[in-house]
Symmetry: C2
Subunit: 143 residues, 2 copies
């Protein structure tokens, strides 16, 4: 992991479909050399995957919310498979503090969100925060 790797990651983060030829010009290396570096970063697992950033609104997801769930540890074995099977769950984190789970969800309307919260309450007490705006839109770590 040297400075050239970092630069390649930055460039690919901006556009994951950037041609190797373009990248090689930016870092002043040959195409095969860049190819080999990218392949290594993939093998090492630094690059987990190439993915899309989509517009939730255009896909009909108008409601973004964070749900805090206060759950007893005994529920966890049941909770984990459940939460992983929910397609609208964008993120679920086990965190410090009273509300032990922090869940990020996206739904077409508050109606579906409410229904989901209802199902969540079998695991514990919830507290929901609706997102109004995002001064910093979700993004990956900066390399």
């Amino acid at each position: 992991m040297d400075q050239i790797d970092v630069k390649l990651l930055k460039l690919l983060q901006k556009n994951a479909r950037a041609p190797v030829k373009y990248l090689s010009g930016e870092v002043s290396l040959s195409s095969p050399a860049v190819s080999a570096r990218i392949e290594r970063l993939e093998r090492q697992g630094v690059i987990r995957s190439y993915t899309l950033e989509l517009d939730p609104l255009q896909l009909g997801y108008h409601i973004l919310a964070y749900i805090h769930l206060d759950m007893s540890p005994a529920e966890k074995p049941k909770f984990i498979p459940f939460i992983q099977s929910c397609p609208n769950v964008l993120e679920c984190n086990c965190v410090t503090g009273n509300y032990s789970m922090l869940i990020k969800v996206s739904y077409p309307s508050t109606q579906e969100l409410d229904s989901f919260i209802g199902r969540l309450q079998q695991f514990g007490k919830t507290e929901t925060q609706i997102v109004f705006s995002s001064p910093v839109a979700p993004r990956g770590v900066m390399v």
Copy 2:
């Protein structure tokens, strides 16, 4: 936006570098037809960008945390530019409830996190939750 568009988005979400030829086979269309659809989705803004999913740990980011910030609305004009200029801020949302801002950050260690929280406190009261584990790792909306 028909079912073919949805399928293309799903495939690209799994691998944004998938060749058009492969995609065209999956949806039983010709390459130019698929190319045109992708181009349209880009123009419409459904596809915001092609990006990478990176491993934060391999990049030295060992601490992931959510910070709740209780800020008076008067501070907002100063706060927004500040938070947008912080490279370690992965996300910043304006939410309902007392703690009006929910900020997701990533730092190499608790030391840097603590220093950041110190700077945040000029804007209001904070409450921090460290992430232990992520049963559902951050992901985009499912199409």
